[in-house]
Symmetry: C2
Subunit: 217 residues, 2 copies
DNA sequence: CTAAGAAGTGAATCATGATTCAGTTTTTAA
DNA sequence: TTAAAAACTGAATCATGATTCACTTCTTAG
């Protein structure tokens, strides 16, 4: 017996892994999953292609990890909106949904990659986990709302899944093919739909076009 | 001497060519240029892969032709808007720009493919011709407007190119990466910008959100 | 310092999809 | 009916990018 992994090595590997993910994420933002090529990625990380396979068993596994890495970033943004202490739960949820949607529309290549780009089955499976994570987050907020009486009694797990499904649908539409409505219309309608669904009262959201026409006058 | 191409054969070849383009266009709408595979396309057309090469010298040439075919469809839509006899030129141009933008947002995979998907150089060159065709169309309308006095005197060629550039920019932004604004905001602002640019007077467009909130009340 | 055990390397191999081409079928004019 | 000239075919070949693996370098415990 001689070599044994030390914390120094563990940390170094952690950094290398992070480097790979960061560079892959940049490629994802530039041209989607199809833009991630093992040789290119290795070069950008200053590693040999073989080394990538010491960190990820296949390109599919790598793409899945990138997917999850990107998702965590988005999740954190949404989580931040859900934690605004000075606002009520319904408003926080509306903010979170809007943030989710706006970020998707602001980085559409990445959003398209995360939501609609045709990918291998393993990445599709990650998509399901991704929605699950969002649902969990929203479910916590809903539970909070129920406790503070700003939301009526309800099954928070069910509500949160419905909520994620509705907002994703509103984004998949505009980003993919077969929708009949327009992006912003779909988003505001969805947020309104979601909020009305969980508050069980009418809910009006501020329309970005109103801000625009105000500025221009 | 014996075989000589007859009109019967010429027509049959024309139909085959059209079949290829139609099937390729469907693939384009489904998953962009990367979704067009020679073997798949040949199968869908009930042809051998080699036959595709009798009609198009390479996949690149085929993609270019598909690009142009798709473009012609879009051009015809825009042209139809520009020909509405009962409306003034400025309104017709606004309608045409909106149509262009809306269609792009309604078929974003195709729009992304036509406007932003990374493609071979020959297809990029087709993009320039595509913009040129739009410019020509708008230039004709502008000239008409000048004659009927609904538009002030101006260089219609220059104006039309500026107009196409502005609206494309407003679409490339939302569909690609680095923009700061939202799709509908970008479109309405661009159409407003374009109309104000060519009419030299304030111009307000109807905001889709207003229709929405009206419906929902 | 040394040898076991990893980690890292990159050229060789494999898989996928574009392209070619030798052979087959179709079409035409005489 | 026939032979020239296409048109068509699809298996073979080529190109690109993922994956492997024999080898080298690094790290650690003794």
């Amino acid at each position: 017996m001689a070599y044994r992994e030390t914390s120094r090595i563990r940390e170094r590997k952690q950094i290398t892994r992070q480097t790979i993910l960061t560079n892959a994420l940049r490629l994802l933002n530039e041209s989607g999953f199809s833009g991630i090529q093992m040789a290119t990625l290795a070069r950008q990380c200053q590693l040999a292609t073989g080394t990538l396979y010491r960190y990820f068993s296949s390109k599919e596994a790598l793409c899945t990890a990138v997917f999850e890495h990107a998702t965590i970033i988005e999740i954190n943004r949404v989580a931040a909106q859900l934690q605004q202490a000075h606002k009520g739960v319904p408003e926080r949820i509306a903010d979170a949904l809007m943030t989710f949607a706006k970020r998707a529309l602001r980085a559409p290549v990445a959003a398209w990659a995360l939501i609609a780009e045709p990918v291998e089955p393993a990445v599709s499976a990650a998509r399901l986990r991704y929605r699950e994570q969002y649902a969990t987050l929203f479910a916590q907020a809903i539970d909070e709302g129920i406790v503070e009486r700003s939301l009526p009694q309800q099954n928070s797990t069910l509500s949160s899944h419905a909520l994620v499904g509705a907002i994703a649908e509103a984004l998949i539409g505009p980003l993919a093919q077969q929708n009949q409505y327009q992006p912003w219309q779909a988003i505001s309608a969805s947020v309104q739909f979601c909020l009305q669904a969980i508050t069980a009262t009418p809910y009006t959201i501020i329309c970005p076009q109103q801000e625009l026409s105000h500025e221009q006058r």
